[in-house]
């Protein structure tokens, strides 16, 4: 309990036990968090972004086709301005080429996005790959 008088507040000297319990639980939580982070700080090595892409689905939209995909970054640093190239090929011939830019793909995280094609990807080869990134 806190007593406020003339704008000053004074903490009571004989608090209820619940205040100590809350304080103790909080101290444990904070110690746990700092401990975990400290452990990560010592054990985790900084590796440059490592991007991989998994195509999820191909759907027909009103004006063409949509290929949705997951982009995962398995490394411990974040990649910014990640450019993803999508290419539709038939034999040696490139039918269509598109790209999309992700603002960020966070470390050890994934993002989802989609490429839109005018031509039907069915029966053709869809190649989606990350083409580059910047350090944030």
């Amino acid at each position: 309990m806190t007593r406020s008088e003339q704008g000053r507040h004074r903490e009571s000297h004989d608090p209820h036990w619940i205040e100590w319990l809350t304080g103790l639980v909080s101290a444990l939580l904070i110690a746990g968090m700092l401990g975990w982070i400290g452990w990560e700080a010592f054990t985790r090595e900084a590796t440059p972004p490592d991007l991989s892409i998994v195509v999820l689905a191909t759907e027909k939209t009103g004006a063409g086709y949509r290929v949705t995909f997951d982009i995962a970054n398995s490394a411990t640093t974040t990649a910014a301005a990640v450019t993803v190239l999508g290419r539709l090929t038939e034999g040696e011939k490139i039918v269509e080429e598109n790209h999309v830019i992700f603002d960020y793909v966070a470390a050890e995280s994934k993002s989802t996005g989609a490429l839109l094609f005018a031509n039907d990807p069915a029966g053709r080869r869809v190649e989606i790959r990350a083409a580059g990134y910047t350090d944030p």
Binding site: E19, M33, T78
Partner: protein
Amino acid sequence: MTRAEGDKDEFNRFVTGLGRGVAGALFLALPMLMTMEMWYLGFYMARERLFLLLLLNIPLLILLAHRIGFEKTFSWREATRDAAIAYGIGILTSLVVLTALGLLRGGMPASELVGKVALQSVPASIGAMLGRSQLGHSEDDADTRETSYPGELLLMAAGALFLSLNIAPTDEMMVLAYKMTIWHALVVSLLSIALMHGFVYAVSFIGGHELSPQTPWWHAFVRFTLPGYVVALAISVLALWIFERLDDSSPVEIMLSVIVLGFPAALGAAAARLIL
């Protein structure tokens, strides 16, 4: 004084309170009203999360009203009335300012218009509520009042939420978390705790807290500062989740962004203990 004069006086005081509310809403919510990410969130954020935020704002405003209010409130019924007025002022102020800035236009779908105003109404209503305590001269400062322990923690949560709302939607928040190493996060975390304790106890602000001479310093540290920091971190998690900043991130990345946002949230929590 006749009864009619008394009513007129009461009416004038009420209108002054409304004016201060609008001023508070403008002062404290203008940074958010002029933040690009907040406009975008208005139309793309998940509606159930926006709904949750709008609902959470109601008990928060009632609590603040009970504590400060437009009028000196005695009962929870009056506090509820004041909270409704503050929410109303928040919605109207957001509507007027967003329209004046050309962010609301006729051709936009209703969900976008409502979403933008609803999101901004949360900080604006808190601003409206604080308007009185910040801008008005309080005549009743000299009285003695007691804040229960949960009440003290809730006040800290209110302060933390207000500052989190300012910062959580911005992209800078995420960029910071991406640029920082874990060592930086450790330092920020310890700094937050130290500043939180220092602001409330060591630096002698008006409204600062003091301990009885026979109480050792770590009593308050364990009973108030550490729980306060946990409250600030919890509010950071909530704010990041509401603004969809946590999806698909790894635990370490989440922890980093929570600690980054926990810094302003902890200062907000400390400020709430000083001001309210």
